[in-house]
């Protein structure tokens, strides 16, 4: 089997994962797909240099994360808006739940982009992509406790932002 066939057989099953991660680094579909391609090409370079990861998923996620961060630094993108749930007044949870039930996907996506990059990436890696907290800690190079705090606060902020927007839109 040609080496590139072997590489693709090992790495292509993780394409959905890389795609979901890239979509949370680059807002436009075209930019996200460029990032996916760059991730695979970088991984291929490492593969030809003899690098054989034990598991393809965290390996590709780490490459995508590093490339995404580099690209964002170079592009000096918009300043991040951090939403700390502690500062948000707690709304009635049942009213929030009802409003969230009627929410659209685009609103959730928009709310995710209102979180800090660290929270957005931690949530993407754990909730969208499905890594454990320990794996996210390995990929991001942060202690597991920090990852858990980011994910937890990010989830709460996401729920509240979506609920707020949903309630704002309702008559």
């Amino acid at each position: 089997m040609a080496t590139d066939d072997e590489f693709l057989q090992v790495t292509l099953p993780a394409l959905d994962l890389v795609h979901n991660l890239a979509r949370r680094f680059a807002r436009g579909h075209a930019d996200a797909e460029d990032l996916v391609q760059d991730t695979y090409l970088r991984a291929w370079q490492a593969w030809t240099a003899g690098n054989r990861p034990r598991r393809a998923e965290p390996w590709l996620a780490t490459i995508c994360l590093n490339l995404g961060r580099d690209q964002r630094r170079r592009a000096s993108l918009r300043p991040e808006v951090t939403v700390e749930p502690e500062n948000e007044p707690a709304a009635d949870v049942d009213v929030e739940a009802a409003a969230i039930g009627r929410v659209e996907r685009a609103q959730v996506e928009q709310a995710l982009w209102a979180l800090s990059e660290e929270q957005r990436i931690a949530i993407t890696l754990m909730d969208i992509v499905g890594f454990t907290a320990a794996e996210v800690a390995g990929i991001t190079g942060s202690p597991r406790g920090t990852v858990l705090a980011r994910v937890h606060r990010g989830r709460k902020a996401l729920a509240r932002l979506v609920a707020k927007e949903a309630m704002r839109r309702e008559p």
Binding site: D4, L8, T48, V108, I128, R153, R155
Partner: protein, 233 residues
């Protein structure tokens, strides 16, 4: 268990409590509104995030496959270059050592080879007609495909693809259904299955893969370069 609702809720939702701890916390949740709200809100946030999971579009899958395949081809060419350079040096040394740089008379060659060299020089091909054949490669390195004709070389049916390099020098790729006879005085570069010869001052190279091919170029070095660029081996 620490009663900091945020920490307790985060640890509980992360699924890292053992069974007994989980059971204790779940009992606590029924009585503690702060912890209950913490867990409900974060749980809802997790469900919202999970709803964003997407499947990668099929065109992206194809694009990734194609880009890796292209990178792989380029890597193979890069690795082959030093081999070709070594083969070229060895071949030229052999030609010099054998005194073969003194032009060999085309008449001493098998008729197909003599006809190939004559056709390269004159631009004529027996029974020549424009061929509808697509080029095996339209552009490779500095070689650009000019057109194709079909005809015969001493009775052997061939399709002749003409290429020009950046300097305007002509390179002809002749393809047949069966192998070409070996030229007199041919050299076999080490670790390859090709032969190359200087026939009457013209470079002639023969390779059987991917299909029986004869490359005719201004000199043996040019024939070796062209064969490498056209992917013959």
């Amino acid at each position: 268990m620490s009663h900091e609702p945020e920490v307790a809720g985060a640890v509980y939702l992360a699924g890292i409590l053992d069974a007994a701890q989980r059971e204790r916390f779940e009992e606590h949740l029924l009585a503690c509104e702060a912890c209950w709200g913490e867990v409900r809100t974060a749980h809802r946030g997790r469900a919202l995030a999970e709803s964003l999971r997407e499947v990668a579009p099929q065109p992206l899958r194809e694009r990734v496959r194609a880009s890796v395949a292209a990178a792989s081809r380029s890597e193979r060419r890069r690795r082959r270059r030093p081999l070709v350079a070594v083969a070229l040096a060895v071949t030229i040394l052999a030609l010099v050592a054998g005194g073969l740089l003194v032009r060999q008379a085309g008449q001493g060659q098998p008729p197909v080879i003599a006809a190939a060299v004559a056709s390269y020089r004159t631009g004529q091909l027996d029974g020549s007609a424009a061929a509808t054949a697509q080029p095996p490669v339209r552009q490779a390195g500095d070689l650009v495909w000019q057109g194709a004709r079909q005809g015969r070389l001493a009775g052997l049916p061939v399709v002749a693809h003409e290429y020009r390099d950046a300097a305007g020098a002509k390179v002809t790729l002749l393809r047949a259904d069966r192998s070409f006879p070996e030229a007199v005085g041919a050299n076999h570069p080490p670790r390859t299955a090709i032969w190359v010869a200087d026939v009457d001052g013209v470079g002639v190279l023969c390779a059987d893969r991917p299909s029986p091919s004869l490359v005719v170029a201004p000199d043996p070095a040019g024939a070796l370069r062209a064969a490498s660029e056209l992917g013959l081996h």
